[in-house]
Amino acid sequence: MPAQKPRLAVWKFASCDGCQLTLLDCEDHLLAVAGAVDVAYFPEATRGEISGRYDVSLVEGSITTTHDAARIQDVRARSNILVTIGACATAGGIQALRNFANVKEYISIVYARPDYISTLATSTPIAAHVKVDYELRGCPIDKRQLIELISALLAGRKPVTPAHSVCLQCKLKGNVCVMVAHGKPCLGPVTHAGCGALCPSYDRGCYGCFGPKETPNTVSLSRQMAHLGMDEKNIKRVFSTFNVNAEEFRAERQRHDS
């Protein structure tokens, strides 16, 4: 153990707070986390001023304003290790749907005083702005993965967050495949593992919360989902959620954009 506890900060950009709350939701582990690191900046849980450098920064949320685009540069400069947590930070989040629409129009529909709103035309992942050392996928992230990441960083080893399919986790659990046995479309074969195959374990197809896995073949999966009866509009829709701005999902969405 280092003589001084590593300083940890949790930063929020455009997001719903769900991923940060995963840290507070770590129940049994929370005290151990607090014992192992000095949580120096975490507005959701503690008072603390931004000051000096941080050994580890967990960054939640995407970049949607010029102010945040500047702020992430400051966070990067203050951080030894920068970890993005959740689909907003790693891919741009659900709010990245704006990347495919006219933001000005949205604003005029949603806000009473559009002139008060200052925002960028896009929602972009943190990695589009600064160098990211590790990422935790998910909407929200998985708390076991978060504990694993912090434990690994403390031990100076690589976190075990494999980029293979959800199917592999599904099979480790002995689940019956919902696609093959129930004819339900499932994004598991193209989605990054990490959730423990949560939805297929409850008899639903995977929604792709963890974004594209390594080498995803979305074209072949779409063909099979069409074969199972899904129409073009719905295929476009399943690739238009939390990870819509992730490269491979965005490309697949566009393929069904008729």
């Binding site: 151990a32 192992a36 199917c167 592999l168 099979k171 002995g174 093959v180 072949s220």
Partner: protein, 378 residues
């Protein structure tokens, strides 16, 4: 553990209404009885204690990428083919702890995970599955690096096999010379007979342990009529295989065609999802994972099923050797059908059809072989 070769000895008949006795005797003898049962619209392998947990009156329809349960017109207990699970989930656990280490002050102690013996009674093992178990035995029980965890789960296993009464839509055991007739490697072997409105089982023992259990069961001697009925069941199954594959020369066929365009074609369909390797009863690959706790006092190592379809699988310093799906699919298929022969002296495929049924996009190993074969001059 099974000892004899083929089941010789006299055969007997046990009535359907008496079959619970088999479960009772196995449980009394301290076995953990596992077998087929219906769950989540499939027939899976799980702990079972009573005969009512078997999927009476159910069957399955299987195609590439498709599996559906259907009602049978009779109340057969084993009237379906193999499902999503294989016995490897019991004998070669999906996740296995290997060791733990603890640091106290300056001292670090390492504790190896002791093998935990388990007495499984596997009920309803098919001929192809017996071959698959024999193949995994070869992998795990031989040589310098025999696996103590597999051995602890395998050594005392009691196997109740079943001659298949129905071929699945993706079965091709006949092509692989692994079924549908059970030919050794069991303690007790059953053939389910439903002819003449009499629901009964032809039963034979293949080991001393099997004979001991058989002695305790209510039964009558089998007649030549019963034996004929059993032969007819097996013959009907053998003639209704859902798939076939010419296997005698496939070893060389694939190795001659490592640059075939068909590998590109299949890579365009393959999701590299790893389902085929996970469901395959002979695939044995694992990855090793480290864990450490937040306080830095405990760490451990475990292994879990892995697949040659993941990028990590072929990761060496600097990157993955098999970065394309083409190279990963080719690894899987050539290992199953070609290089397994070089490595272990048998095929790595027993023709169970699981990889075809449980591939989300229905990629069919028999079709891929046929496609490559058809491009060669005869």
């Amino acid at each position: 553990m099974t000892t004899d070769g083929a089941g010789s000895g006299p055969t007997a008949i046990i009535e359907r209404r008496d079959l619970q006795a088999l479960f009772d005797v196995l449980l009394q003898r301290g076995y953990r009885v596992v077998g087929p049962t219906r769950r989540d619209e499939a027939i899976v392998y799980d702990d079972i204690a009573v005969i009512d947990q078997l999927p009476a009156g159910w069957t399955d329809e299987q195609e590439g990428g498709r599996y559906r349960l259907k009602r049978r017109e009779d109340a057969a207990l084993f009237g379906y083919a193999v499902g999503p699970h294989s016995w490897k989930k019991f004998l070669h656990a999906p996740i296995q702890q290997l060791w733990r280490a603890r640091r106290e002050g300056d001292k670090t102690t390492v504790e190896h995970e002791p093998p935990r013996p388990e007495r499984f009674a596997l009920v309803g093992v098919r001929a192809c599955e017996l071959h698959a178990i024999a193949i995994q035995d070869k992998v795990f029980l031989n040589g310098e690096h025999a696996d103590p965890h597999y051995r602890a789960r395998r050594n005392d296993a009691f196997i109740v096999s079943v001659n298949c009464g129905k071929a699945g839509g993706t079965c091709f055991c006949v092509s692989m010379n692994t079924g549908p007739k059970v030919a050794g490697g069991f303690d007790l072997n059953l053939t389910e007979l439903l002819d003449g409105g009499q629901h009964r089982f032809l039963i034979e023992a293949g080991s001393d342990a099997g004979r001991e259990v058989l002695d305790q069961l209510p039964k009558r001697p089998a007649t030549s009529q019963d034996a004929k009925a059993a032969d007819a069941v097996i013959a009907a199954t053998a003639s209704s295989m859902g798939r076939s594959m010419k296997s005698d020369d496939v070893h060389q066929l694939l190795l001659r065609n490592l640059d075939h365009v068909r590998w590109n074609n299949v890579a365009e369909r393959c999701l590299a999802c790893s389902n085929c390797t996970m469901v395959c009863p002979t695939c044995f690959c694992t990855s090793v994972e480290e864990a450490s706790d937040l306080t830095g006092t405990e760490s451990s190592r475990s292994r879990r099923w892995d697949s040659c379809f993941t990028m990590d699988y072929s990761y060496v310093h600097g990157g993955s050797v098999r970065s394309t799906t083409r190279s990963r699919y080719r690894q899987w298929m050539t290992h199953k059908l070609s290089t397994w022969h070089d490595q272990f002296g048998t095929s790595g495929c027993v023709g169970c059809g699981r990889c075809i049924t449980w591939c989300p996009v229905g990629i069919d190993i028999t079709e891929e072989v046929a496609a490559i074969r058809s491009s060669e001059p005869h």
